[in-house]
């Protein structure tokens, strides 16, 4: 176990109700944005829970992943309000430009494309989250600009 992970664990009380918050923290610390088998084992041991119970929770919530994800995570809102605003063409453009389908990661490990439920910023639909940032009023053209910018940043 790394020093960093020990520090993360010790930031939480040993109480089963902190499981989700603890998993959020472990996932954030991983540059590949996912939970490793070791993470799950550590969380289970630290909180005194069966490993199956931790696995059970992780596989339920969309914000957790058990597979390595790209450096940037693009989450396109697929809710009816964004749909009415043209989210379909935004997602299609992303899939075309990245050469992957929703739920997949580009072979170079740069992008993961996901569809999310309502992000609650419907006034500027269609919307997606680029990592932690919300971007609205999307069009296929704006999508191409965003991808170009992210590629330049690497």
């Amino acid at each position: 176990m790394t020093v960093e992970k020990t520090a993360i664990l010790q930031g939480f009380p040993r109480s089963p109700d902190v499981l989700l918050a603890l998993l959020h923290a472990l996932q954030r610390a991983n540059p590949q944005n996912y939970l490793t088998p070791e993470d799950l084992r550590l969380a289970a041991e630290y909180l005194g829970l069966p490993l199956s119970r931790v696995h059970d929770a992780v596989t339920f919530y969309t914000m957790f992943s058990l597979r390595p994800r790209g450096r940037h995570i693009l989450r396109v809102c697929g809710s009816p309000t964004c749909h009415l605003g043209g989210a379909g063409s935004v997602l299609a453009e992303l899939e075309r430009k990245l050469g992957i389908k929703a739920g997949e990661t580009t072979p170079d490990g740069l992008f993961t494309l996901e569809v999310t439920s309502c992000l609650g910023v419907c006034g500027v639909a269609p919307v997606m989250m680029v990592d932690e940032e919300v971007v609205g009023n999307l069009t296929p053209k704006r999508v191409r600009e965003i991808l170009r910018r992210l590629r330049e940043e690497g």
Binding site: P80, H83, L119
Partner: protein, 536 residues
């Protein structure tokens, strides 16, 4: 320091942040300093001003002028032309019909109770909340009312849950108070996931102390010592402002041990969710708070007797709680002067879609849809005609122009087989394909079904497949009948409201727009569906 001559209220909410409000603020402060106005013009960062889709929005008082789409490079002009020379900058000015309201100068037909301070105070400053009557209700009840009297006042006010179901809040509190056990909890459900809804986010961002005060009052009333706000993990600004508000309230002795030296102790924690629509259902939320997957529980027992960790628990929606302080200060009789006899008070809506002024509005219960769309929303864009309104979110119902005069409250809508739900009003013009919209709803439910009970897990999946047949013209009238049968089975046998409520959008869409569905099913799809059918 002398009072400011003018105030610039800048809406800082999630939408403004993504439009670059931080840079606008910096430019504004720099411009005011440069023009020597820093002393006489006060810049206030506040919550939403009720205007959506217009980028950075700010309001200048006492003039009551609203600007939208403000960029850093526009700020110098506003400062010089408006604040120095007193002439509004017309090119950035928002039309007066925008859904905005200020106390005492209501524009349109809004009645603001819950949103009274949103867009008025700085939500990160507890003193502004206190200066506007904040924490008065808490002080009053702690020293002048017994817990039973607090519950009685809320019950007499007729407050009903604003999360969707409309259950009387006073009854819920009374049930928790009388439930056996000394350990009880108050939970604020801020897991707002209903598509097209963000009223709770804007309340939390714009007036977080109101929720803390209300939860503390609820705690006193039911005999709890701990409150938890379960908030969507994606709502980063709400989480930050709540955490800050809690810190401030503790520092002022309004939260924590021995509040205002009354002998009553209560504290509040914030817990972010992890992305699951079903966790807005109260028993799924409780499971999630216990660190488990958010599977709804079988009810009864209800949370009022068996809630968090099996203890009696109040679960109230953000907007419901936001009504509580005003009820206790101004009394149940005052509250009943608002709204309808069976649904007193106001309701907050997000009016979205093809309207000219999308945004957040608060009106009395019973206000018809027509007012929301044509007065507060400014009517439809580009002079188009209204085709349908999806009310209540994805788990809501499709209404038609014939329904425009139905009063919006829990009871009148139930008569139309619709629900008020979360207050989402999605307006669709004549260019919208209802088949396509229903598809988006069905895919949403397929994705968000938690998979625990069979009717919902299998039903949502079957519905998407049947719908695909309809969209690409490989179906008939019997397919539509089959879809109706499935949602009826789901309504009767699903474990929680997620599966039960899908009957609303499906039945209302198929009944009100039957011709359109039949045309698609029998091989005459609209342009939009034809192009999509070709692509898949």
């Amino acid at each position: 320091m002398r009072p400011a001559r003018a105030h610039v209220l800048v809406a800082v909410d999630e939408e403004a942040r993504l439009s670059g409000v931080e840079r606008v603020l910096a430019a504004l402060r720099a411009a005011l300093a440069e023009l020597g106005l820093a002393e006489e013009v006060q810049v206030v960062e506040t919550g939403t001003l009720g205007i959506s889709g217009r980028g950075v929005v700010l309001a200048i008082y006492p003039d009551g002028v609203f600007y939208g789409g403000v960029r850093p490079e526009d700020v110098r002009e506003i400062a010089e032309v408006h604040l120095l020379k007193g002439r509004p900058v017309e090119r950035l000015r928002l039309p007066i019909a925008a859904p905005v309201a200020r106390p005492g100068e209501i524009l349109g037909r809004q009645t603001r109770v819950v949103l009274r301070r949103v867009g008025v105070i700085d939500p990160e400053n507890i003193e502004e909340y206190i200066a506007q009557g904040g924490y008065e209700a808490l002080a009053k009840i702690l020293f002048q009312m017994k817990p039973e009297e607090v519950i009685e006042e809320v019950r007499r006010a007729g407050l009903r849950g604003r999360g969707g179901a409309g259950f009387p809040t006073g009854l819920k509190w009374a049930a928790v108070r009388s439930a056996p056990g000394s350990e009880k909890y108050v939970i604020c459900n801020a897991d707002e996931g209903e598509p097209g809804t963000f009223k709770d986010r804007l309340i939390l961002e714009g007036d977080p102390h109101r929720i803390l005060e209300a939860m503390t009052i609820a705690g006193y009333a039911v005999g709890a010592r701990l409150g938890i706000v379960y908030v969507r993990g994606e709502y980063t600004l709400s989480i930050r402002r709540l955490a800050r508000a809690i810190e401030q309230a503790r520092a002022y002795g309004l939260l924590g041990e021995n509040i205002l030296e009354s002998g009553f102790s209560f504290d509040i924690e914030v817990r972010p969710g992890a992305g699951a629509y079903v966790c807005g259902e109260e028993t799924a939320l409780l499971e999630s708070l216990e660190g488990k997957r958010g599977w709804p529980r079988i009810r009864p027992p209800y949370p009022v007797t068996y809630g968090l960790w099996g203890k009696p628990t109040v679960v109230n929606n953000v907007e419901t709680l936001a009504n509580v302080p005003d009820i206790l200060i101004r009394g149940a009789a005052w509250y009943r002067t608002l709204g309808t006899p069976t649904c007193p008070g106001t309701k907050v809506y997000t009016v979205l879609g093809h309207v000219r002024f999308p945004g957040l509005v608060e009106v009395e219960m019973g206000t018809p849809l027509r007012t929301l769309i044509y007065e507060l929303g400014g009517g439809l864009r580009d002079g188009r005609a209204l085709k349908a309104v999806l009310i209540g979110g994805a788990a809501g119902a499709f209404l038609t122009p014939e329904d425009l005069d139905v009063p919006l409250d829990f009871d009148s809508l139930a008569g139309r087989a619709a629900v008020l739900g979360s207050g989402a009003v999605l307006v669709m013009d004549e260019t919208t394909c209802i088949v396509d919209m229903l598809g988006s709803i069905l895919r949403f439910f397929q994705h968000e079904s938690c998979g625990q009970c069979v009717p919902c897990r299998a039903g949502t999946d079957l519905l998407v497949r049947l719908w695909e047949g309809v969209q690409c013209g490989k179906a008939g009238a019997d397919t539509l009948a089959r879809m109706t049968e499935i949602v009826e089975a789901m309504r009767l046998s699903s474990l929680c409201p997620l599966g039960q409520s899908l009957a609303l959008p499906v039945r209302s869409a198929l009944e009100n727009f039957r011709e359109e569905f039949l045309a698609h099913a029998q091989g005459e799809p609209c342009e939009r569906c034809r192009s999509q059918g070709g692509a898949t």
